[in-house]
Point group: C2
Chain length 146, copies 2
DNA sequence: ATAAAGTCTATAATATTAGTATAGTTTTAT
DNA sequence: ATAAAACTATACTAATATTATAGACTTTAT
């Protein structure tokens, strides 16, 4: 049940951008700054941010003084959105996926025990990731620091 | 967040063995029977059952009329136990794992937002897998069939 | 014009997954 | 004795995913 590095780095970067949105007027940061702060290989982070950009979760500005910034207020972006862009469906098996359903091997899906339990797992994970916004994460971090 | 085929097959096989435990006097089944019923490559399943045997979750009997059977009553084996044998720790990132903790990249674990959320995710998954027994799964399947 | 910054594509290196194949050994009911 | 069944071990492959790295290109502030 692992989160890939791609997913981990992407989530860290987005949380970082949410902090910047809260604390700086432009809300803009360069790849290198994020890479350094979060200890992420810069070129790898570049690909990840590009994917997030193509998914419409961040915007960017080219050229001198450019950088990345969140496409929306941090309280309108959920971890689930970020996760799905980078790591695909949340469901442990495809036959319980909401976003990418595929039939699995069971003779009868309705009475498949594994499917029922994995459906519960999917919902439990989705309930957390889809209801937690970047803003909420930042708040929680600040609370922990206090 | 995917369950590997190894994990999927192993869980299916264990649920299958739990059904047999409930419905047959010996509770014993051969690899081939399970493989056929659950559509699992037999040689792959052999490896998986061996791993479960070495972990003490199933016992086996050699020779004619032999086979595999659960090492304990189905209500004393949880999906979490099976999962961990086959797919390793439940935690999405190692720094929130109970069974296989390792530090991650965060400068301060106590105030790392990602870590907090992934801790919640880990607990949500573990709460389901560690509290659901094979017997409970079988009951649920029977209820769905009725 | 230049340098800072993102864009895009390709490729490499490594690891994991999902098996398949081989080749036996051991146990046990009949 | 024989056949059925599990046990052990290895190792090989093929595909896929992961984790990057490299380099050429484009945009923009100054």
């Amino acid at each position: 049940m692992r989160l890939s590095k791609r997913g981990e780095y992407g989530l860290r970067a987005m949380i970082s951008l949410a902090e910047v949105q809260k604390n700086s007027p432009t809300g803009m940061t360069q790849i290198r700054e994020i890479a350094q702060k979060e200890q992420i290989p810069a070129k790898f982070l570049e690909q990840i941010l590009l994917a997030l950009k193509n998914a419409g979760l961040v915007h960017s500005k080219m050229g001198v003084g450019g950088g990345y910034y969140l496409a929306k207020p941090a309280d309108e972006i959920t971890l689930g959105q970020v996760f799905r862009v980078l790591d695909g469906p949340i469901a442990p098996i495809r036959c319980v996926s909401q976003m990418a359903y595929e039939p699995c091997g069971c003779p009868d899906e309705e009475t498949c025990g594994l499917r029922m339990v994995m459906g519960d797992v999917r919902n439990a994970i989705a309930n957390i990731l889809d209801r937690t916004t970047l803003a909420a994460v930042v708040e929680r971090m600040e609370a922990a620091r206090a």
